[in-house]
C-alpha cells in the first residue's frame, strides 16, 4: 500500500537547469496537489488538479508547470531553476476536494538550487 510516492528524495540543481519532480498515487484519488514548504512560511500551494487533463494554479505557480495525463501521476516541472526555488516539495492527493478526510502526503523532495 504505497499511497503517494515522490521521487527523487533529494536533488541539487544548478541555476538555469531544469528537472521534473515525480509524484504518483495508487489510491485512485482524483485530486492531486503540489505544495512547497519553506521554513517559517508553512505550505504554499503551487498547482493542483481535480482530475486527469485538468490543472489549475495555486498561490505560487510562477516558475513551475504541471501536467496530468493519468489519474495516478502528477509531475511538477521546473524549467529554469532559480535559488528562490530551493525548498521542500510535497505532493498530496485526496479522494474528493479534501472530502472532509484531508490529504495524503508524499514524503517530499528536498531541492537545492545553487
Amino acid at each position: 500500500n504505497a499511497g503517494v510516492t515522490q521521487t527523487p528524495k533529494f536533488r541539487i540543481l544548478k541555476i538555469g537547469q531544469s528537472m521534473t519532480l515525480q509524484c504518483t498515487q495508487d489510491m485512485n484519488h482524483n485530486y492531486m496537489y503540489w505544495y512547497r514548504q519553506d521554513p517559517g512560511m508553512g505550505l504554499k500551494l503551487i498547482y493542483y488538479s481535480v482530475g486527469a487533463g485538468i490543472t489549475d494554479k495555486g498561490e505560487v505557480p510562477n516558475g513551475y508547470n504541471v501536467s496530468r495525463s493519468t489519474t495516478e501521476d502528477f509531475p511538477l516541472r521546473l524549467e529554469l531553476a532559480a535559488p528562490s526555488q530551493t525548498s521542500v516539495y510535497f505532493c498530496a492527493s485526496s479522494q474528493l476536494g479534501q472530502g472532509g478526510y484531508g490529504y495524503t502526503f508524499g514524503s517530499g523532495t528536498r531541492l537545492t538550487v545553487v
Partner: protein, 109 residues
C-alpha cells in the same frame, strides 16, 4: 480570502504539562478545519478533523465559531509529541486546503 493564523512559531512545554497550540482563521462561511502533524524526518499526516470530533493521541480541538479559533489541546504533554503542527482550513469538502505557517512544539524533559 480565507486565512489561517498560527501566532506561535515555537512552543516549548515541559513533559506532563498541558499543551495548547493556537489557531485562528478568517473565513465568513463554515469551514472545514484540520490539524496536520509532521514528526522529524516523516511526511505530513492528518492528526484530526473538526467534523469528526475525535481525540487522536490525546489531542483534541474544538471549533469556536464566535472566536474563529480551532486550538489544539492535550492535557499532558509527552516527549513524542515534539513535532511541527499545522492548522489548515478548507472552504468546503470540494475545495483545496489552506495551511497556516506552523508551530514547532518542543517537549522538554
Amino acid at each position: 480570502a480565507q486565512r489561517v493564523t498560527q501566532p506561535e512559531k515555537l512552543l516549548s512545554v515541559f513533559k506532563g504539562a498541558p499543551v495548547e497550540l493556537k489557531c485562528n482563521y478568517s473565513y465568513s462561511g463554515s469551514p472545514e478545519l484540520f490539524w496536520y502533524v509532521q514528526y522529524s524526518r516523516q511526511r505530513l499526516q492528518l492528526l484530526l478533523r473538526h467534523i469528526s470530533r475525535e481525540s487522536i493521541k490525546g489531542f483534541t480541538a474544538d471549533l469556536n465559531k464566535g472566536e474563529t479559533s480551532f486550538h489544539l489541546k492535550k492535557p499532558f504533554a509527552q516527549e513524542e509529541d515534539s513535532a511541527m503542527y499545522y492548522c489548515a482550513l478548507s472552504k468546503n469538502r470540494d475545495d483545496k486546503i489552506i495551511f497556516g505557517k506552523g508551530t514547532r512544539l518542543h517537549i522538554l524533559p
